[in-house]
Symmetry: C2
Subunit: 383 residues, 2 copies
């Protein structure tokens, strides 16, 4: 097992038919969610923000192809109805079902299709490698690969699946993430852990700077494994979120390279994250990465507009990792060996390491290059 089915108490299945997919994930337990900061929240997000006050879930139903966003009261009713349909198929109470949608904005759900897909998916629910694969595939839209992560400790496991490759921006970098653990944990503690983990993972991925209407990360704790060390659980959940976040960045629409930017020496962690995010979001940095062009001035220029206090002439910058790590700027002085820098940009991952010399804060953000393919994908998405 490589994700959710590695967690005791979790079973799933999914179906993907053309653009339209549906997944059901069955797991009873304490649940917490983190949601999009976009004012235009999709109907399922509205429903879930309401529903999560209860703090427990028995299952989640997710569809891809239609976001059920900007669909008003009818959209809200449809999201509630979608829970009811899933509840009926699974023999559960409607109010114990979580719901999420992803796809085109401003279209109503095709409820007959969802009813039909639920009816076919429910009997296949299982705890197998095929099952987590089917669920992972069902929630994809423009993703080119499924995204799974699993951390197993001696006493418990944390697993998750996610989807997302476009409309990915600083506030909730993913569109949808479903995390599970068999640890036993109280609702408020789980919420705090999930918020912290999200802040350090999904909130540090930028593909295109657009924040989705549908972003949601849900974590359900089945409790099967009994109570565990809180710090250990927090570390495991954060590790799974980070693993999934990096996969989202690597699968950025049209991307050919993963961009990793670590900022050190910032006034604090959030300042470091602000600078790192600004650099990975910069279209000029992203196109330079694509062209393997060691135009490092763009990295420094992007850092300069992040709104963080530092002395531009105290910074140091490196590109590459391990033996290929090459200094570009050392305490404000240009030391770039452009040949070595270009070589350090040649692989599937390009890493910048920026030291601001302005404190002890550090953070990493992840993104990808900007290619002609991104334009092609998004110029022709709905039609």
């Amino acid at each position: 097992m490589k994700s959710i089915c590695g967690v005791e108490g979790v079973s799933a299945w999914g179906i993907k038919e053309g653009k339209f997919g549906l997944a059901l994930i069955r797991a009873s337990g304490t649940a917490a969610g983190v949601f999009t900061s976009n004012k235009m929240r999709a109907a399922p997000v509205e429903v879930m923000m309401e529903r999560m006050k209860r703090g427990t879930l028995d299952a989640v139903v997710v569809n891809s192809g239609c976001a059920n966003a900007y669909t008003g009261e009818r959209g809200y009713r449809d999201a509630v109805e979608m829970c009811g349909i899933a509840a009926g198929a699974l023999g559960l109470a409607p109010e114990s079902i979580g719901v999420a949608s992803t796809g085109v904005i401003g279209r109503y759900l095709d409820l007959p299709l969802i009813r039909d897909q639920c009816r076919r998916v429910a009997p296949l629910i299982a705890r197998t490698p095929d099952a987590e694969d089917a669920a992972g595939k069902a929630i994809m839209t423009t993703d080119t690969f499924q995204k799974h992560a699993l951390v197993e400790t001696e006493s418990f496991a944390v697993g998750g699946i996610t989807k997302g490759s476009g409309m990915i921006a600083p506030n909730m970098g993913t569109m949808l993430a479903f995390l599970y653990t068999d640890a036993e944990v109280e609702g408020p503690v789980l919420r705090d852990i999930l918020r912290q983990a999200t802040r350090r993972s999904f909130n540090r991925v930028v593909v295109d700077g657009d924040t989705s209407t549908n972003d949601v990360a849900l974590c359900t704790a089945t409790g099967v494994a009994g109570s565990v060390d809180r710090e250990e659980l927090a570390r495991a959940i954060e590790a799974v979120c980070r693993d999934l976040a990096v996969q989202i960045a690597r699968d950025g629409e049209g991307a050919t390279k993963l961009l990793t930017v670590t900022v050190r020496g910032a006034p604090d962690e959030e300042a470091a994250a602000d600078v790192a995010r600004t650099v990975v979001a910069s279209p000029l940095v992203k196109t330079a990465i694509y062209g393997e062009d060691p135009n490092w001035g763009r990295v420094v220029a992007a850092a300069g507009r992040a709104g963080v206090e530092f002395d531009p002439y105290a910074v140091s910058l490196w590109v590459g990792e391990g033996a290929g790590r090459t200094p570009l700027v050392r305490r404000g002085e240009i030391v770039a060996d452009l040949g070595a820098a270009k070589a350090a940009m040649h692989g599937k991952t390009v890493t910048f390491d920026l030291d601001l010399d302005a404190g002890d804060g550090s953070a990493t953000a992840w993104g990808c290059d900007l290619t002609e393919k991104y334009v092609e994908i998004n110029g022709k998405y709905t039609t």
Copy 2:
């Protein structure tokens, strides 16, 4: 005349040799400047911020090809030296010369080249159509056309040239703009007028979300036409800035279409501008424009993350102008005729009109589509 040479007291010339251009603009008078908000200010910007305290200029020297940005103390000395070179060529005092640079970041100026170009340009300075053309061409980098604007009233004129087509973002949408008027005006008044005009024009253009290290808008008032009505002058300067700003948006790197977004019914003008800028900056909106794809949900989703308070289900949205104007959303209800909407996106200009129904503020922002060509241009710029 179509720009700066339409203003009495202004003469100019320029030269462009491969990537490297140089312009000299001769005009004595009261001067005011607005500068980049990027922390990584280029050396010429540092010099100018210092120099503008004096409040008068006799000439401006501008080079393209090298931004003299992130070049430290040597860069600062080079920018001062560049003023000295221009002063020598023009027979003026060095401290009365304004300086600006645009081009690649993190490279030192080629002072011998600048000296040579100054020597050749200075004797040709004139007040003719060819002269303003030569200056307009000299300051271009990735621009595909020169940008000129001129407003003539009964009593005075305002003219300007600008350059900029990439690294264009909310704070100072242009890289370089040089404005002139023959009106007589006090320094502080000119500064206020220029700030207001910049806020409503260059600050409302987004090509790629990157803020340049070198942005500057300079306005010199020769005073030849005597004193004028302040409001009339403010209107004329704003009109010239807006004209130039729209030209920058239209010439966005790789752009095939101008995108105009007008937001009405916002809590105030700045809130309207924030929403309008967020929409024109959205990569998903920009790619949809390119694909002539009436994926209007992306417009609404972008508006939702602008940080402005409004009720998503009170908004109305139209696409197109004049007879082709098509409603997409009316007070939260989807009314889109996708065929008509697609037709409204077919021309060289795509216009969205968004009414938030949350106040009296309105503002317009300008941008362009995102194309494969943008990626191509910026993936291979320095090498």
